[in-house]
Amino acid sequence: GRARLSHSDPRGWDERGGEEEEEVEEEEVWHQLYPGHIPTSPLQKALLAAGSAVMSLYDPYRHDMVAVLGETTGCLALPNLRDKMKHHPEGYRILQERPRIRLSTLDMSRLRGLPDGSLGREYVRFLEVNKVSPDTRMPPKFVDDEELAYVIQRYREVHDLMHTLLGMPTNMLGEVVVKWFEAVQTGLPMCVLGAAFGPVRLSARKLQVLATELVPWAIRSGLNASCVLNVYYEQRWEQPVESLRDEIGIFPPP
């Protein structure tokens, strides 16, 4: 049985044919490019972008709205990112192999057993300390290109590794810092908006630390670093975090 709803117009959009026989079997849904894809018109995307922007500010716990905002506004930044990946040997391999960071694909016990300071060990520590899981990332719905859908998925799954590399926790302050870094790195409007509007909910003291130390550092690192999506993290669990930071070009956190 099909538990999912899918938008389908079984007759396609051929108006000239007039009333055609309707498809009895539920074939491939018309222009659904990947599982979970919901095709949208430009007007719908615009409305979604506006609505999700308002809703993410109004209710910061609506992570799905942040995700939707990213998808509907990423039409310039995503192809850019994809091209950066294509032209880099490691990034190219990632696009080919499409690795996913999920609890089912990660060997948590092995990672936990790695030496302190290694990427794997610190990543697991980050997940445990902040009580988060890589499986809570939303799959893309409104990206109208299958490869770009993967790119945005990869960006989401790599977000926790950004936290690890930058040494930032998942509180509001930490998230804003990571958003600044990501905004510079990816150019995604969602990151830019998050970076600009995130701080409105911070206290004055935190804002000061943010403005004087953290954001300048995040921006400098973001500009200096090579594209973070071009790193095949799954093959570098043993690498020490500091060495990886050096390699990418992220300055040590303040």
């Binding site: 709803l5 389908s8 117009d9 079984p10 007759r11 959009w13 055609e20 539920e26 018309w30 609506r62």
Partner: protein, 307 residues
């Protein structure tokens, strides 16, 4: 630009040229679920899941999608019903209680006016008599009116009961889990049968109409409030545009659920238009069947009597 228009056609105006299969009469196993083709059983299951998922945000979404106008539609329905105290109402697919609560309010205010008129006539009552009058009438503020809310979906009923508690409705109200196609009630029981925005989701409309006829008393009234068809071409295009472009977006933003609201707007297109529904109601045995368009046919109230 033309290419985009073509591609977007199904999104903008899927109503045009979309196959109209069995309108509520299962001639075979194939039925419609929005614009998809499914079996009867699949349809029931899918619709159950839709309402399970929308139940908690049902009222918020209704207000957003219709800009609050759905409240006016429901008020008009109850005013048309014009129930007097002592009426026994069955509200089918009444899930979150909107019609039931309005019915109770209406009957209560009619009753109050009745009492006031009665008291005005008795000019020479002693204080004792007046006091007693108030006492016995207070405990009967609804005048023995009752409403039974019947819904097939547990989640919707749950939300309805919570609302009732929250708003302070308890007297004269009962909640029953049941299927409109096979009602758990005896024949000739109710004075009025209502189904507001529910009949569209019934898989066998003919059976639901037959059941409505069965459980109504002779002289009883059938009232159906449902989305219908807009004949005005300009308005129809605007309505389609709003339905297909805005409503699923509202669903995603407010309820995090695009697909249920996509189903909603598709199911409206698949539902029989005014005249056809009128014929179906007549087929079930009702007399004096008529309909009233609200907002140019976006919504229609169909009415019939069992004689």
């Amino acid at each position: 630009a033309a290419l985009w228009l073509c591609r977007a056609r199904p999104l903008l105006c899927p109503g045009r040229g979309v196959p109209r299969p069995l309108r509520g009469l299962a001639a075979g196993p194939e039925m419609h679920f929005g614009f998809q083709s499914v079996t009867e059983e699949e349809r029931r299951e899918k619709i159950y899941q839709v309402f399970e998922s929308v139940a908690k945000k049902y009222d918020v979404m209704n207000n957003s999608m219709t800009l609050g106008i759905h409240r006016v539609w429901k008020d008009i329905l109850v005013h048309k019903m014009n129930p007097s105290p002592g009426t026994l109402l069955l509200d089918v697919a009444g899930g979150t209680g909107d019609i039931a609560f309005r019915f109770i309010n209406y009957v209560r205010s009619v009753r109050e006016r009745q009492l006031q008129r009665k008291l005005k006539h008795h000019q020479d009552l002693s204080w004792q008599e007046i006091f007693e009058n108030y006492q016995e009438d207070k405990s009967n503020s609804l005048g023995d009116s009752q409403v039974v809310v019947c819904d097939i979906n547990r989640e919707m009923l749950k939300v309805g009961k919570q609302k009732a508690q929250h708003l302070g409705y308890s007297e004269g109200l009962s909640w029953v889990l049941g299927n409109a196609e096979e009602l758990p009630f005896d024949d000739d029981k109710f004075d009025v049968y209502t189904i507001a925005f529910g009949i569209r989701n019934v898989t066998r409309i003919d059976l639901a109409l037959q059941e409505a006829y069965r459980v109504l008393k002779p002289g009883g009234r059938f009232l159906c409030l449902e989305f219908s068809h807009v004949s005005n071409p300009l308005l129809s295009r605007l309505y389609d545009l709003y339905s297909f472009q805005v409503i699923p977006v509202l669903g995603e933003v407010i309820a995090g659920d695009w697909k249920s609201y996509q189903y909603l707007v598709e199911s409206i297109r698949q539902f029989p238009p005014q005249e056809e529904l009128k014929a179906m109601i007549e087929d079930a045995g009702f007399f004096k069947v008529d309909y009233e368009n609200l907002n140019f046919g976006i919504v229609a109230i169909h009415s019939g009597f069992k004689l």
